[in-house]
Amino acid sequence: MTLEVEGAGPSGHAAPSADGAGAPLLSVDGIAIRFGGIVALDGISFDIAPGEILGLIGPNGAGKTTLFNCVSRLYTPNEGDIRFRGESVLALAAHQIAGLGITRTFQNLALFRTMTVRDNVLVGSHPQTRSGFLDDALGLRRGEPDRTEIDALIADLELEDVAGRLVADLPTGTQKRVELARALAGRPKLLLLDEPAGGLTHGEVDDLGGLIQRIRDERGVTVLLVEHHMGLVMSISDTVVALDFGRKIAQGTTQEVQNDPDVIRAYLGSSRQ
């Protein structure tokens, strides 16, 4: 696997830069979005440094998935800006985001259920390849992704044995890995993971933590992780941002956020949990 680590430091991944020396990979700048009367996000700002794992936490309905949907351009915020490597993503359409280097998984699995595992992963490589109807109808195979790379990715996520199976026939834990493989096939620089531990067994969650760190270290992928599983978030995040009712209530190291009175209040005082 030869993936260029653009924007990351020479050490493979840059530590979160408190000194502000490295430019952020992603800047979320004062975004707000409303759905009718509901203010789902209310002026959220934070940066992600290249090579960082940033944990995004908050009670149910805090706005975490909505934030992902804004970055993916599935939603358009009413206010604010989102910049990836300094360029606003708001000028782009949803289908242009993956090509930019931002891929994602979904909270409630969004796989191509009647397709095989391999084909799902291959769809993930769509932005990496070019070929139109004509090339493909003539069988020129110009747009085929690098099969060895795809095979390596499938092997890396331990999906070889099910590569030819239909996704719909697989257990949740396996489907979650297929989503991860599909997102990685787009060779992202930034990976958005929306509750990757949801529906996994204890053992699987432990493996997942290691896997996410390995993805960051080996592939140089920056990770924005939404997760309710506090053990997972606190064990692998470099920085944590906490949301509640669409507002940012805390940001800092795992220690700082865990001890933050507003965070404790949001979680304890929340009957929505």
Binding site: V123, H126, P127, R141, D151, R182
Partner: protein, 342 residues
């Protein structure tokens, strides 16, 4: 279909997995079936009456249209109950160009395909805004309007109105010793094979995966970088082009185009053929075409007065016996035999 893809699939199948997990019919068996089918297809026109040759040609023409519909509905998830319109456009393009433009048939064929592609693509644009059942209704409206438009005064000088147009059937060129029925049979066979080749390539490629991804989960497809509008409209155009080629061939094979050959009954017939053959199966289109040609005749023979009811009963029976279409039944039987032997 290339060796590269075969070798990359091979380890997954060979590694002592339970046989029930086999992904599909082995490629070798598919190729053998294709070869045997081809030999039969080449021999048939020398063994049967001209009328049977004509019927077989019609089966292939329907199969081409069903193949196009399958790309749209089976692989891309867009419903159409209006493909009779594109068949009509293809047929009339050929008839009008031959009648008024002095074109030979073969020159009209790509023009009919191109014109239908453009019309289909343009129709695909507003279709983007319609959810599946509404798209089915919108295309159905197209099918209902088409015969009347063809008869209407502004078009009559070109379309021949209710009377339609007579079309000249090409003879075999270069003194090839085939009668015109045999010749058109082989022309249709070759065109059908080329179109099936394109379809197989397409669905196994980046483009085909994008089409299917949109069908299975449009939101995820968009997040994977797929331009949904582009793929949906282009697929609509391609599908319409297949129907247009079928129409163009039918014009010369039937030697006649008339508005009442292209009513919504034809559109629904294609949809029936799609389901009977197998949604998402390329060889299934042939079964669908055969059903459209032969089952009405069988129904007629069962009972002259109640042919419609007999047709309905056969249709229900077939759907009951083959819920996944003919292709699904064949696949199930082959897999069963393979698994028993293993």
């Amino acid at each position: 279909m290339t060796d590269q893809s075969m070798t990359s699939e091979a380890p997954a199948q060979g590694r002592g997995k339970p046989v029930a997990e086999r992904a599909g019919i082995p490629v070798g068996l598919k190729r053998a079936a294709l070869l045997i089918g081809l030999i039969i297809a080449i021999a048939l026109p020398f063994m049967v009456k001209n009328f049977t040759i004509f019927q077989l040609t019609t089966v292939m023409i329907y199969a081409i249209a069903i193949l196009g519909l399958n790309l749209l509905t089976g692989f891309n998830g867009q419903f159409s109950l209006g493909h009779s319109t594109f068949i009509a456009i293809g047929a009339y393009t050929t008839a009008i160009l031959m009648e008024f433009g002095g074109f030979g048939f073969y020159a009209t064929l790509p023009l009919a395909a191109l014109f239908c592609f453009i019309v289909g693509f343009l129709f695909g644009l507003p279709a983007l805004r319609l959810e599946s059942i509404y798209l089915a209704l919108a295309t159905f409206a197209l099918a209902v309007a088409t015969p009347q438009l063809l008869k209407s005064a502004p078009f009559e000088p070109w379309t021949g109105g209710v009377q339609g147009l007579l079309v000249f059937k090409p003879e075999a060129p270069f003194g090839i010793p085939l009668n015109s029925d045999q010749w058109m049979y082989f022309v249709t066979l070759v065109i059908g094979l080329v179109l099936a080749f394109f379809a197989v390539n397409l669905v196994g490629s980046r483009t085909g995966r994008a089409m299917m991804a949109i069908r299975d989960n449009p939101i995820a497809a968009r997040a994977m970088g797929i331009n949904i509008a582009l793929y949906k409209t282009t697929t609509f155009g391609v599908s319409a082009a297949y129907a247009g080629i079928a129409g163009s061939l039918s014009a010369v094979v039937v030697q006649f185009v008339a508005p009442d050959s292209f009513t919504f009954v034809l559109a629904i017939g294609l949809f029936v053929g799609l389901v009977i053959g197998g949604v998402g199966s390329i060889p299934g289109a042939l079964f669908g075409g055969a059903f459209l040609v032969y089952v009405p005749n069988i129904a007629e023979e069962l009972s002259k007065g109640l042919a419609g009811a007999a047709y309905g009963a056969i249709l229900l029976l077939v759907i009951y016996l083959m819920p996944a279409g003919a292709a699904g039944l064949v696949r199930a039987i082959v897999m069963k035999v393979l698994n028993r032997r293993a």
